[in-house]
Symmetry: C2
């Protein structure tokens, strides 16, 4: 079903690279002189698709003129594949060069905007290594895994209005938190203060963008994952750990995660990841019937976390316990409706090794063992001015590795208006 | 600042009733022959406002022709008051009767739709009586109140895509839950099943609809509440207690509350509640500076819960611990952005008396003491076919009590597609 190019692109400098014809992610871009519209990335260029689609009278081609990916995402799997097939043809058939080349713009010359308004945003907790270590740090002495953790993918709703596109500044939040913010200072801390977080963290995650909605009170089987999910994005779920820890029991995280969530500007279509599916690491006990998947149900995506230009950690999404199709099946298993633009994310991606962890909470063991950056400075938590960049790669269908679009965010000081 | 009519309406049968000129809630309605547009309720009639606004060249009058309240809600406090003043004039000045009367339609002849698409939906936990009793039922032997409960209004994000308008059917959800569903069966129950909830509940709540968004990383002071909040609605936060209890630790409620949330079709503007403000019942300890309010900061709104036409309980919103302005100040205290269409709700409204409780979890003590309905049947939890209706009243500025629009929902069986 998936569209795999038979040959590399003819675009100069792009063949064999991370944005060859087997990738072709979508974004929404604006230039100085035009309205926002859909672009496709190839090499270091953005294809301005709308004029080509109009000239070729491509079915559904009008979606490329929209100021968001929403109309494209709503089309469904058949049209997604057909449009991707047309794009692969444009960018791999050398006879198309003359008509296509005028519509290629340097990516550095365009402004990328939030690719679609997020409807509902759900964050899961699907990495066994993450959940285990977080439990050990936050609830020492107790069983680190919540008892239902292996029975269902635990998740919660986040704030979709706080989702911003890669590059947007992230203001350090204030909040009610204990004056002492050591790892053990929980909700029973005595002295409260309303002040800037002292435990600002990132979380490296993979997000899944829903295209096709559901009928009321219906559910999506694990097998129907690809009928609803349009693509994937890197996501940084910025977290203020002191605020989060104080507020969370019993209704879960709230303001500690509601100030900003950064998503990539580029959405990688599921079709581009056809060569990236791998078996899950194994599930014990076997999940309930409606959560069972046929392997390969995991994705071989490696995420790299850089702070101020230096790599801090590499984390393997393939080590994640719960599969994307299981998260979606669970999410809809009670009839929760899906809308075009819903996003659900993996939660922090962490591998089993101590240095392959997707957040500072884990990498510094709750801030107790600060990391030393190459410039010699120490980080228990993020400081103002820190820039966190997530990048990722996955096997492409042309034999190399393709790139997922980055998420980038720099910490600004608390705003005066706060 | 608020607009108070000096005299009752001239509309036949409406003067002195629950929908007199001091009320005038907004909804979006459709008739067989026209597009959805904004209506204003007076008596048992709906005023079709758009043609009158166009004829009168009323500033901002175009918002009444929209298929949602969103454009009206985005205008802000000055325009809200000006438009309300114009409407009060139309409906109280007898000289207007001839030109206005042709635009009054029987409310039973129109179809009411979701008044605006909900952006982010937050549910609070603001009733001390509710939180205390729920803690006693769910965590017997422990301190019933979470330690931070009196320091901040606890809240969490719900699923905005699951918000439906009054009258929409509510399908009983399935979910992963313990086979035993007694009050004490928590996440450590042994045998799991994916099946229809056996503990379906309602929650009587008051919801606040945000009109004016915030700038990035800014917050709303308690004093600025009325600059952002457009109006209030009754809300029923349907809950599947067995699913909720099993899934909730540590990230909070998820699918147990994500299948349906019913809001009223009618939005009561804050201006209509000018006579309803009352002092809070008292807060100990005093809240942090950014959460302090000047009384009167509570609302004297009585909510009545009826099942199958018989009153089950009456609950006093005035007994609620945390004020609406404190919930909004807390929500935005970390820079979480507000958008037009955000909704935040009180959580279950319960008074101190055992029979003045806003959900079955409390009224039946976790299902252990079923209520007997007037028809002789017992209810530990809702059964298929049950219809739950919330109604409410508040002091109006003409001396009587005005009505808030009802929420109505009937439980349908699990859908076959589930």
């Amino acid at each position: 079903m998936s569209v795999r190019p038979q040959q590399p692109t003819w675009v100069d400098g792009a063949a064999g690279g991370p944005y060859d014809a087997d990738n072709l992610p979508y974004a929404v871009f604006a230039t100085g002189d035009g309205a926002a519209r859909v672009g496709v990335r190839v090499g270091d260029l953005v294809l301005d698709v709308a004029p080509l689609a109009a000239a070729g009278e491509v079915p559904h081609g009008e979606v490329f003129g929209a100021p968001s990916l929403t109309p494209l995402m709503a089309l469904g799997r058949g049209a997604w594949s057909a449009l991707r097939g047309w794009l692969v043809g444009l960018l791999t058939d050398p006879r198309m060069r003359r008509s296509v080349e005028p519509w290629l713009l340097p990516v550095d010359d365009v402004q990328l905007v939030l690719p679609f308004p997020v409807a509902d945003y759900v964050d899961f907790y699907s990495s066994l290594h993450h959940a285990t270590l977080v439990g050990q740090i936050l609830r020492p002495g107790a069983d680190p895994l919540p008892r239902q953790w292996r029975r269902l993918p635990i998740g919660y709703h986040g704030r979709s209005g706080a989702v911003v596109v890669s590059g947007a500044p992230v203001h350090r939040p204030r909040g009610l938190r204990p004056e002492r913010t050591g790892a053990s200072a929980g909700p029973d801390a005595d002295v409260l203060t309303y002040a800037a977080t002292q435990q600002l963290d990132f979380e490296a995650e993979l997000a899944f963008a829903v295209g096709v909605p559901t009928e009321p009170a219906s559910r999506v089987s694990t097998a129907a994952f690809g009928d609803h999910v349009f693509g994937v994005q890197l996501l940084n779920d910025w977290s203020a750990r002191d605020i989060q820890r104080y507020e969370s029991a019993p209704l879960g995280p709230f303001l500690g995660k509601a100030f900003a969530t950064t998503v990539a500007a580029w959405v990688t279509p599921l079709d581009a990841l056809a060569a990236a599916w791998v078996p899950l690491p194994g599930q014990d006990p076997a999940p309930a019937a409606h959560l069972r998947v046929d392997d390969p149900a995991g994705l071989d995506i490696d995420i790299e976390i850089a702070v101020n230009g230096e790599t801090l950690a590499r984390v393997p999404y393939a080590s994640t316990y719960w599969a994307p199709a299981q998260m979606l099946a669970h999410l809809t298993s009670g009839g929760a409706p899906l809308r075009t633009g819903d996003v659900f994310a993996s939660g922090t991606v962490s591998g089993p090794e101590p240095d392959r962890r997707g957040c500072l909470l884990e990498l510094t063991l709750g801030g107790t063992r600060p990391l030393t950056l190459p410039d010699g400075s120490a980080r228990g938590w993020l400081v103002d001015g820190d820039e966190v960049v997530l990048t990722a790669s996955a096997p492409g269908s042309l034999g190399g590795r393709l790139a997922l679009g980055e998420t980038r965010g720099r910490i600004d000081a608390v705003r005066a208006a706060q």
